[in-house]
């Protein structure tokens, strides 16, 4: 077995910006985002796909960045929590809803929740409470007890509906 497999060049877009890096095959996407790109908003909790803290969007779909290798995402578009706020730094409606409903305490799990909820509300724009709880099941929070997070998703669904042009 080789000690140092040749680094592999990956080019991808992260939060709309092109980047190219040479990475060892075993570098996880989560570590790539944090250590190579300095995007430390992606939090690393369990590193085996259970806690959801490292959730990012890969070509629009919510995925665990700790279960992907950086070399696998070549040519893809990745969105992290840093990519949610507007260029003028105003909050994304889902961030606004989490803020209004006090849907966080320590905030460690929050980036993962936000990215999961972006994908969830895109697929289910007006969810029932049961659907919200199912949608949140893949993210763990150890502080808030989820009540305010559920409220925040409900609120986010309203805020997003307000933004859509009337049908």
């Amino acid at each position: 077995m080789p000690d140092t497999p040749a680094p592999i060049e990956v080019r991808l877009r992260v939060n709309g910006r092109e980047c190219a890096e040479r990475v060892p095959p075993r570098l996880l996407l989560s570590d790539f985002l944090r250590h190579r790109l300095g995007l430390t908003g992606t939090h690393v909790g369990c590193e085996h796909g259970v806690c959801g803290a490292c959730t990012v969007l890969l070509d629009g779909e919510a995925v665990r960045s700790c279960l992907l290798l950086a070399v696998q995402v070549a040519d893809a578009e990745v969105t992290t929590v840093e990519g949610l706020a507007r260029p003028d730094e105003s909050l994304h409606p889902i961030q606004q809803a989490f803020h209004e409903m006090h849907a966080l305490q320590c905030g460690f799990c929050t980036p993962g929740f936000l990215l999961s909820v972006v994908a969830f509300l895109r697929d289910v724009p007006a969810p029932s409470d049961e659907e919200i709880r199912h949608g949140l099941a893949g993210n763990l929070c150890r502080c808030t007890g989820y009540q305010n997070i559920v409220r925040a998703v409900r609120r986010a669904s309203e805020l997003l509906a307000d933004r859509r042009p009337p049908a």
């Binding site: 592999i8 075993r26 085996h48 665990r64």
Partner: protein
């Protein structure tokens, strides 16, 4: 870095994957969706010399109507199957079970072939494949061969695939007209591996059960088909006595283990209860299908 050192090849075709497997053999590991393999790498429970990444093999990702059933390419994401009208219409047991696989974030990456090849004894898809007598297509240096679900699962995390073979496709027969199916499982939290999961398919003959199929997960070293229970149900009315006998037959067919989540006795009990519920739900859906 959490994972051990390995070489990495992203192949573009099945042929290329087979050539890589042949060249590197036992030291190589196929990377499909990575939702089981990467945790094993991160915990260094798996230390392959080389990963052969199938994620860029377009020919392995498809859901296709074929031969009176639905063929699903090994690299088809579980989420794609969840959203597939073809799968929902023709393989309703699969459609019923797939939302129970992990969470949607996991299913966005996790693949049908990856779950089947990994053969976790508590996974949903192996039991679904066994329940429906799915057919597996494997490709190796000697060419292609087809395996029955019954012969595919050997023991935990072990299938009939050779080290130089990979699973390319699984074919599910379309559900019979007027049949109903149901997947029911019990887990401590949604998205956890099931303590016990049961898949049932029921065809009615008038007021009686015509044919019943039952398969379970989480109850031994591999998925289990409860054939004695199926035989007890065939041709019988859906009465409490018949269901109780079938539940007992299910409990005899399985060999669950104990762990921190549940004792063997609890799993055995729950398996019988869930089997009864799954049969009743499948029968109710069969009745609905007859009326439709």
């Amino acid at each position: 870095m959490k994972p051990p050192v390995f070489e990495y090849t992203a192949v573009r075709s099945t042929d290329e994957a087979v050539a890589e497997l042949e060249q590197h053999g036992d030291g190589a590991k196929i990377l499909a969706g990575g939702q089981s393999l990467v945790p094993l790498l991160n915990m260094r429970l798996a230390t392959p010399d080389r990963l052969i990444d199938l994620n860029r093999v377009a020919e392995l990702a498809h859901v296709t109507a074929r031969d009176g059933g639905v063929a699903i390419g090994a690299m088809t994401r579980q989420r794609t199957v969840e959203r597939s009208e073809l799968a929902a219409r023709h393989v309703p047991l699969l459609a019923d079970a797939i939302p129970w696989v992990g969470h949607f974030q996991i299913r966005n990456r996790g693949t049908v072939g990856g779950s089947l090849s990994h053969a976790d004894p508590a996974a949903e898809l192996p039991a679904v494949a066994l329940c429906l007598d799915a057919r597996f297509t494997a490709r190796g240096p000697a060419g292609e061969r087809t395996l029955a679900a019954e012969e595919f699962f050997r023991t935990q995390l072990t299938t009939a695939l050779k080290p130089t073979e990979l699973l390319t496709e699984v074919w599910f027969p379309a559900s019979a007209r007027g049949s109903g199916s149901a997947w029911i499982e019990l887990a401590r939290r949604h998205g956890d591996f099931a303590l016990v999961g049961v898949g049932a398919v029921v065809t009615l003959a008038g007021d009686r059960i015509g044919e019943a199929r039952l398969a379970l997960t989480g109850v031994g070293d591999r998925p289990v088909r409860a054939r004695e229970a199926e035989a007890r149900l065939a041709g019988e009315p859906l009465s409490p006595d018949v269901l109780a006998d079938a539940a007992e037959a299910v409990r005899r067919a399985i060999d669950p283990g104990s762990d921190i989540h549940a004792t063997a006795a609890y799993r055995r009990h729950v398996a019988g209860v869930l089997a009864g519920r799954a049969i009743r739900l499948a029968a109710a859906r069969a009745k609905e299908a007859e009326r439709a």
